[in-house]
Symmetry: C2
Subunit: 188 residues, 2 copies
């Protein structure tokens, strides 16, 4: 019965990813050692790395899962709503600080940077699609190229990730996101 086996594999994969997320959140990228990953998942290194090539593989799989979820929201409600969701439940994004720890590698490790870019493409596409639809509906400013609006929202998202990761998600940030949203909206 291959179906059962596939369910089992998916459940095991999910168990490993949940543990890895907690491990990265608590110890950071370098601190998430194989021993700690074993403890937190309750699985042997053999079992863990049967499913994921290495720690980078685990990290990229988590980033991909996040990006998928964010892309679903971005496609229908826009990237600012993704940010509002982050602000509403910062504890779900504890592990995002790990994204900052690997920033230097994006600059110095071309292979890793390529994998990372592939994993974030889905979110970018969803955001661009939504921006184009908003533009057609006359809700987006028409004096700015979509590319500039996209980079602007991406920049704010990066800033928000840094803010959440440092534990400084102050109450004003809701108003800041209102300002961001309004600054790309068409004015009548």
């Amino acid at each position: 019965m291959p179906k059962v086996s596939e369910d089992h594999l998916a459940a095991r994969r999910s168990q490993i990813l949940d543990g890895a997320r907690r491990c990265f959140a608590e110890y950071g990228y370098d601190g998430a050692t194989v021993r700690r990953l074993e403890e937190i998942t309750g699985l042997s290194r053999g079992a863990i790395f049967h499913h994921f090539k290495d720690k980078d593989g685990l990290f990229l799989a988590l980033a991909q899962a996040d990006n998928k979820r964010m892309a679903d929201v971005a496609a229908t409600q826009g990237l600012v709503q993704v940010m509002r969701d982050m602000l509403a439940s910062p504890e779900r994004f504890d592990w995002l600080g790990t994204r900052l720890e690997i920033t230097r590698r994006l600059r110095t490790d071309p292979e890793f940077a390529k994998a990372w870019t592939q994993h974030s493409a889905e979110l970018t596409e969803a955001t661009v699609g939504r921006l184009e639809r908003q533009r057609e509906a006359g809700r987006l400013r028409d004096d700015l190229p979509t590319e500039v609006v996209l980079k602007y929202l991406d920049l704010v998202l990066d800033g928000l990730i840094a803010r959440l990761a440092s534990g400084h998600a102050e109450k004003e940030l809701g108003q800041v996101l209102d300002l961001v949203e309004e600054s790309v909206r068409r004015r009548d």
Copy 2:
């Protein structure tokens, strides 16, 4: 002649900071070991840690020097100009990725977070001062509290640091900063 001695101390301090900046930029926070700091500065660990308490002390001194320089620009030309300067010479800000690597510590290490906040107070004060003067001169939107504008600019700065640290300072970012500037300016 105490004057000579003071000059010598200041020069030595500056030599250590320059080396530490390069060391952090190349190897990251964890990778900037005492051995590497010795190699890159050409000084012994005894000489280095005569001037700075420990690696955190070196890191915070660099952040303080950056904040001082940024505060000087922010006070007269605003925080967006600080960002334009960063965009114009990204290579001067290679080491900023280290700021991201320590983000998790801001959340988990209250003493370090306190020292960090003290060091960034000067930049915040300079930015607030400039915003208040712009407001009085009628150049700032009057429908937003200064606190919200400040948090907005801070968020964009954090995003820009992440972008520069990852080596992805794309050409659109100049236009993005135009948009940021315009979104807080008073409209007639």
